[in-house]
């Protein structure tokens, strides 16, 4: 898996917002629909507390990420997710019920928390992996989002994997030099954060140059090669998402 990730790959063909490997099937949904579904599902899954009606709603919605990954043709991800989620739901309550040991209960709590965050992260991953930058910007323009928000956002998503890849490479290099552990936190900061920022700035300059060459800063109205629009599947997704809205409000407010 590691070998297939390209370090700081610039000038990639327009695949997902996240640089994605392998083939996957297209999802016949408008980016705006996907955004809506992702916000609703991950909002309820992550912010919700799992009490009252949410005790039923959350496990039902937990199926949604698996469903999308099946539609994408990534069956193994869907299967792994199903196993991990089930384990994170079933094991911690058993441990808490049977054991009084503090550390064990704490560990169970941590596993439970990871299980709660997992569906939301997978939804976010689904969104950025199946939406191209071009589609994202087209959708954002139709939503009348200001450029000062859409450009940082799309660059940010584009950069998450790059930051992680670069950080790993720097970590490896520092380990070879014997700079590791928490003996001296300041040295850790200096020897890891500084090279990371240096490479980010350089990569950022290259990315900006390439984007400007392709007319990002142009005063003319941007045209899109990709077509976005609402169709049948979008209506279904919106209807289902709208059904869940009350629980989203409950989750976020409480």
């Amino acid at each position: 898996m590691r070998a297939s990730r390209q370090p700081a790959a610039m000038g990639e063909a327009a695949v997902g917002l996240l640089v994605e490997r392998g083939e996957q099937r297209e999802i016949p949904l408008d980016p705006r629909t996907k955004l809506f579904v992702v916000l609703v599902v991950s909002g309820i899954m992550i912010a919700g507390d799992g009490r009252g009606a949410l005790a039923v709603v959350q496990p039902v919605l937990a199926v949604v990420p698996a469903l999308f990954f099946v539609l994408m043709g990534r069956f193994s991800v869907a299967a792994k997710y199903a196993c991990v989620y089930a384990a994170a739901k079933i094991i911690p309550p058993l441990v808490i019920a049977c054991s009084e040991v503090g550390a064990l209960v704490m560990a169970a709590g941590i596993v439970g928390a990871l299980g709660r965050l997992l569906p939301g992260f997978l939804m976010g991953y689904f969104l950025v992996a199946t939406t191209t930058v071009s589609e994202f910007i087209a959708a954002a323009e139709r939503l009348r989002l200001p450029r000062c928000l859409t450009i940082p956002l799309s660059v940010m998503f584009r950069f998450f994997p790059t930051v992680v890849v670069e950080y790993r490479a720097i970590s490896d290099a520092m380990r070879m030099r014997g700079i590791e552990g928490l003996k001296s936190p300041v040295a850790m900061l200096e020897y890891r954060l500084v090279p990371l920022l240096m490479s980010m700035v350089v990569i950022g300059n290259e990315l900006a140059a390439s984007a400007l060459c392709r007319g990002l800063g142009s005063p003319r109205r941007r045209t899109n090669a990709c077509e976005i629009g609402f169709h049948g599947p979008d209506a279904v997704a919106f209807a289902l998402g709208a059904l869940c809205l009350p629980w989203l409000v409950v989750s976020l407010m409480r």
Binding site: I46, V105, M106, L117, V194, A208, L212, G217, L252
Partner: protein, 228 residues
């Protein structure tokens, strides 16, 4: 020598802006700093620094925040670590709105990762205050940049507000996710409201430390390497 470096950097930035801005944009820019509208390149830089700040923040917060005392300690550790990132960011862009956009996006992400709306609201307020402080220093004053960063750091407190405002309900919610022991321990910390005053002070002070550290690192590495 330092002075010369900065001047040439300014010239470079000015030409860059002329190149990338929409023609109408220059008129709208205020008179405080020349070419003070955010250019496309600045917007992309905001995205990059927000991503780096967030990844580093998560890398620090996840192992530390899993323990009750660590959650509290984040208010001291967080601002120090991201000081290096944000100080470089401030020095690199120097335009109105940059901090606000960064913290707004950060708050949006926090909202949807279960930290509640307070993180976003407080983040917006502190970032606006920080913008005003930066503006007062005309985006050049190092001291005011450090103060602005420390002010923006107070946003970290937003992550704790839910413990008090939502009271028992929130404790139950966290108990469902992290286990009762964790929730009770943390709720114990926040039982006394003065803790918030302490936390604001801690964030501000560690923001100052982070800002000074960030500036020192900037002088030692980034300026010398010529990446600004």
């Amino acid at each position: 020598m330092e002075h010369v470096g900065r001047e040439s950097a300014d010239r470079e930035r000015a030409t860059e802006d002329r190149g990338t801005q929409a023609p109408g944009a220059a008129k709208k820019g205020s008179s405080i700093v020349k070419g003070s509208m955010l250019s496309m390149k600045d917007l992309m830089n905001i995205g990059i620094f927000t991503a780096v700040n967030m990844v580093v923040g998560i890398a620090v917060a996840v192992p530390v925040g899993l323990f009750p005392i660590g959650l509290l300690a984040m208010s001291a550790i967080g601002p120090i670590v991201s000081g290096i990132i944000v100080m470089l960011f401030i020095t690199k862009i120097k335009k109105p709105g940059m901090l606000f956009i960064m913290f707004f996006i950060n708050g949006l992400v926090l909202l949807f990762t279960g930290m509640g709306a307070y993180a976003l609201l407080i983040g917006c307020v502190t970032a606006l205050a920080a913008e005003l402080i930066l503006r007062a220093g005309r985006y050049e004053s190092v001291k005011l940049s450090v103060v602005a960063y420390a002010t923006a750091s107070i946003a970290v407190v937003g992550n704790y507000v839910q413990w008090a405002v939502s009271g028992q309900d929130y404790v139950e919610k966290v108990a469902a996710g992290y286990g009762r022991e964790f929730a009770q321990t943390v709720a114990g910390y926040f039982a006394d409201p003065t803790i918030y005053a302490v936390l604001v002070a801690v964030c501000f002070v560690s923001g100052l430390v982070g800002g000074v550290l960030g500036h020192a690192v900037f002088k030692k590495h980034f300026e010398r390497a010529g990446i600004v």
